[in-house]
Assembly symmetry: C2
Homo-oligomer: 241 residues x 2
């Protein structure tokens, strides 16, 4: 077990922070770790908007389901897939391909995870904010994101003011397969996992939340998932072909 | 500077490996680190196919631009976005949204980056293989990937048999913005960076490769980027709405 592995395995999302700011050295270390992540074809198709303006933070919080930590965390960064950069330097570049959405999303997430791991290794905590995709048009307007740029996720960072336990993940035997995807996944393993998740929520909420994993995904996937996203991707120049 | 940050900042892609296999404890630590990454709405929309069959490795190598390390590395894992899992447990789940492609791609990349960092912290090296998307239909057939599953990237892991230097990244001032995406990016900073990349390639190749970063992205983006990808995504049930 290395210390890096300890940091990663100890991850839990932190949503309450003290007011202590990050130092310049911490910010630099986190940014450098993020940038050191691999980049497909060395395209470096990502940008990060660090939001320091308090009024802008309040506006973004309102767009992100009023999650208080979007405004209150010491840091709030918006990670974006970015092919606008390439269009600036190579105006004749061929873009608009679904493949480039994959490149942008994957590479930007590689960066984001390095940023989170770096922060956690420094004793900080954080949480990713998928809700930056709740109102992407409005958010893009507020941050001045041009065509070619898509906000993918936010990242709140700061010193933890809570100490939650890690959430139990799917058994590795239901996520890692050898040589071939299975025709059918094991129902006994899933029933055991459902029981573990139910126990986790009951313990964490003092018995008020009674929910298995399959129950939870059923609830989440009973609704349309941000049905405006495809149109937004098209407007920003992605997934056109 | 923490050891985790040192590991991440020291990253360089490794494409030549010794024949030494990984231990079971190493594999478990890497898998557990990957699974500990955050998951959007706790959907855990990822699967990993660990390819141990030598003939299958050869076939995959042929589909991945004949990159020898796909067959030769101690480990080769294919990271997939996976909503088939959810459809097994919740057949009435609403899927097909572009948003779910983003969830799957981002969450799977978060896992992949943790896997790479864990491996590097153990003294191993690795490289991501975007070329698993070169022939996605054929690759999906070989791995038995059903509708709802998309191969996103491969990961070769093993003990390094080479020691390349890290590649110079874009200046942070061209990737991290404060509060607003800039109307125009700084041409002097880019010219400096282009010169640094040119120097890196010249040094690394003994003068035979003469290429700036803007030159390289111009070459890459002069061609269509896997133009079959949108059709493949549709067939697998993504980006339909």
């Amino acid at each position: 077990m290395t210390t890096a592995i300890e940091v990663m395995r100890g991850h839990r999302s932190i949503r309450k922070f003290t007011e202590q700011p990050l130092t310049g050295a911490q910010l630099e270390a986190i940014m450098a770790s993020a940038q050191a992540a691999p980049s497909s074809s060395f395209l470096q198709a990502s940008s990060v908007i660090r939001v320091t303006d308090p009024e802008l933070r309040q506006s973004l919080m309102a767009l992100c389901g009023n999650q208080a930590y979007v405004a209150a965390a010491a840091e709030f960064w918006v990670f974006c897939a970015d092919f606008h950069r390439h269009l600036q330097w190579v105006p004749e570049a061929k873009t608009g391909f679904a493949e480039q959405l994959l490149i942008g999303a994957i590479d930007t997430a590689l960066m984001g995870q390095n940023a989170l791991t770096a922060a956690e290794s420094l004793g900080l905590g954080g949480v990713f904010i998928g809700a930056v995709r709740n109102h992407p048009h409005e958010l893009a307007a507020l941050l001045g994101l041009p065509r070619g740029v898509i906000p993918l996720f936010g990242l709140c960072l700061g010193y933890p003011a809570q100490d939650p336990e890690p959430k139990p993940r799917l058994p590795a035997a239901l996520m890692f397969w050898e040589n071939r995807y299975p025709a059918r996944q094991d129902e006994t393993l899933m029933a055991d996992y459902d029981a573990r998740v139910r126990h986790y929520y009951q313990t964490r909420t003092g018995g008020t939340k009674d929910m298995s994993w399959t129950g939870q995904i059923g609830d989440t996937l009973a609704r349309e998932a941000r049905p405006f996203m495809l149109a937004f991707l098209h407007e920003q120049g992605f997934c056109l072909r």
